[in-house]
Symmetry: C2
Subunit: 364 residues, 2 copies
């Protein structure tokens, strides 16, 4: 498995993403085949749970976390061979799938990647059960499926063939990111019915998104390439900045994006009163009159489309969007400053720049 | 940390259990202190989740799994120093606590070790929420708490200082046992509303109990002591036999035990129509008339105490109890045969014998 360098750095970067996706997809397809077979030996029903998990995993996901593992590994090892780190790349995808399965239970979602997720698949069976029992069992199955993925991600993580010291450092990075995403998720859920701190949205963005989606994969790839502690700290700073900016951008698109492009509703966050950085800034800078009117619609489930549009107009007029964009720009600046200190080739640098663009300068 | 050998082998074995419990309790107390502090830095609310988890973990648990890790390690390494394997012993306790937290969600239990479990603790807060939202959040918190314990157990498992090859073997044993307990749990839950195979109860006993509560800990301890593959296979056979017999005994006590001794209701399994080996044997050997009457009460939630007592009388008269006891005896025989082939001291052997007794010849 080797990358073909093209004359254009950007083409190389795009190629890397596509190539890694193919490699990880192949790796995961083999992995799930083995697991389904093993589980079916215990019971056909357990085989079914693994099949449902595999179906979901194969249905979607851009494999951005595995891509980041490889990107960092290739950049800092100066080797184009990345087969040895594929298990760690796949581990980052597997933990993501496990966390998503549990996230969907918390969000009461039966759909993911436009298809039935694991609980959604189980809701399609056992129609003879009462609704509440069927829901309870579907959630139990999805919880158990996520549990085994969390455990299995740790097993895959250790299959890279690195020395024991490196593997322990990688494990430490990975465990920390799992610890963070659980904390971020808890704070996010609890925010629906408790007072939040003024920096709530940035804490959630950092722990629920940046830590496990950016810092973890990038630092794991770099650690496997053998970087020193100083470089690792720079990569962590880079990952935190890009990952947090990604989330801020995501929240902006969640209200002001083009639904036909993003594929996501632009009313849900407002109806659910999600405490995004956008809303926090609005609360800080808007007039009392604007805030009073806004709160007639925000988090009010009966709000009409017209009222939600009015809420968006108030948000827009307040200047909160510009505040978010300024914050995103300052994170981008921070990421670029960290990047300036990476001791890597210009080709590798262009890949990190593409990562920034894909994360921040996007419309979906 | 060293064991004091007494003149009596049995005393040594009992002492080992007590000593290991103290060591693991100390280890976990330190561990939880650190985690609570780290989580509180992210958010006081995340600190609270770790505190709730620590409270539950400290409230109960006999630490039998850590004991088995140490027992096997001490027996096969012929060393009384077991401090190096404490992280793996603690990992086996931590995964158990994580699995229990999720098990309680599935069983709709808010109580464990006679105290509020994690969901139970969260149900005591946020009284202003509607009941269904409070339940949903309490379950989400317990699910997230279990998630991070599953991940953390893998981190602890790798802290034993063994060489890389040994650590990978230990990881493989541990991951397999997590995979098994998830499968066993799924089959057990699904059995409530599907046809079960004739060997259902033995499959559940093997995968939900024996694999992760006996085979895993014993094989991990032995692997850390450096045993060869042949010995490991013997230990696996021993663990499967004792662990499965443990579950069969548990099911017997669950219906015919002394509630004041076991602390468990002897009606729940019958009211919930639990498909135990006892019930499977009854279905095989009882007369049609007995079965017809039994099914008037079994799994019927309105059954009175008198009717449940009648169901027990029918079970007893069928000879099903003797069938279970014969099966337990044959597992005990299998365990003893495996034990005969362990190349260990007589003192170590007596500890394995005590484990058999504690697991099988017990009244609670």
């Amino acid at each position: 498995m080797s990358l073909t360098h093209s004359t254009s750095d950007e083409t190389t970067a795009v190629t890397l993403l596509a190539t890694v996706k193919r490699s990880v997809d192949d790796y995961l397809a083999d992995y799930f085949d083995t697991q389904i077979a093993l589980a079916s030996q215990i019971s056909p029903r357990y085989g079914q749970l693994w099949q449902a998990t595999a179906d979901l995993s194969i249905a979607g996901g851009k494999r951005l976390r595995p891509y980041m593992v490889v990107l960092a590994y290739v950049a800092f090892s100066e080797s184009n061979e990345y087969e040895s780190v594929l298990p760690a790349a796949a581990a980052c995808e597997l933990i993501h799938q496990g966390i998503l399965m549990h996230d969907d239970i918390i969000d009461r979602d039966d759909v993911r990647y436009g298809t039935n997720n694991v609980s959604g698949q189980y809701m399609q069976t056992y129609h003879e059960l009462e609704d509440s029992d069927r829901r309870h069992f579907a959630n139990a199955a999805a919880m158990l499926g996520g549990d085994v993925l969390i455990s299995e991600s740790h097993r895959l993580l250790q299959q890279c063939g690195a020395d024991r010291t490196t593997q322990l450092k990688v494990l430490d990075i990975f465990s920390t990111s799992v610890n963070h995403v659980v904390g971020g998720e808890l704070i996010d859920v609890e925010a629906a019915f408790t007072e939040t701190s003024t920096d709530h949205s940035l804490i959630v963005a950092r722990y629920k998104t940046a830590s496990y989606s950016y810092v973890g994969p990038l630092c794991i790839g770099a650690q496997l390439a053998g970087v020193d502690g100083k470089t690792l700290a720079l990569i962590k700073r880079f990952g935190e900045a890009v990952g947090t900016a990604f989330q801020l951008k995501d929240d902006l698109l969640g209200t002001f994006g083009d639904e036909t492009t993003t594929g996501k509703s632009t009313t849900t966050d407002l109806l659910e009163a999600k405490r995004t950085y956008l809303i926090e800034q609005f609360e800080l800078i808007a007039t009392t009159e604007s805030k009073n009117e806004f709160h007639n619609y925000f988090g009010v489930h009966g709000s009409t489309d017209q009222e939600i549009n009015r809420a968006k107009t108030i948000l827009r007029a307040s200047g909160a969007i510009e505040k978010v964009e300024q914050k995103i720009a300052s994170y981008k600046q921070e990421a670029l400053e960290a990047l300036d200190n990476f001791n890597i080739t210009s080709s590798a640098r262009s890949q990190f720049e593409l990562l920034i663009n894909m994360s921040i300068d996007r419309v979906k």
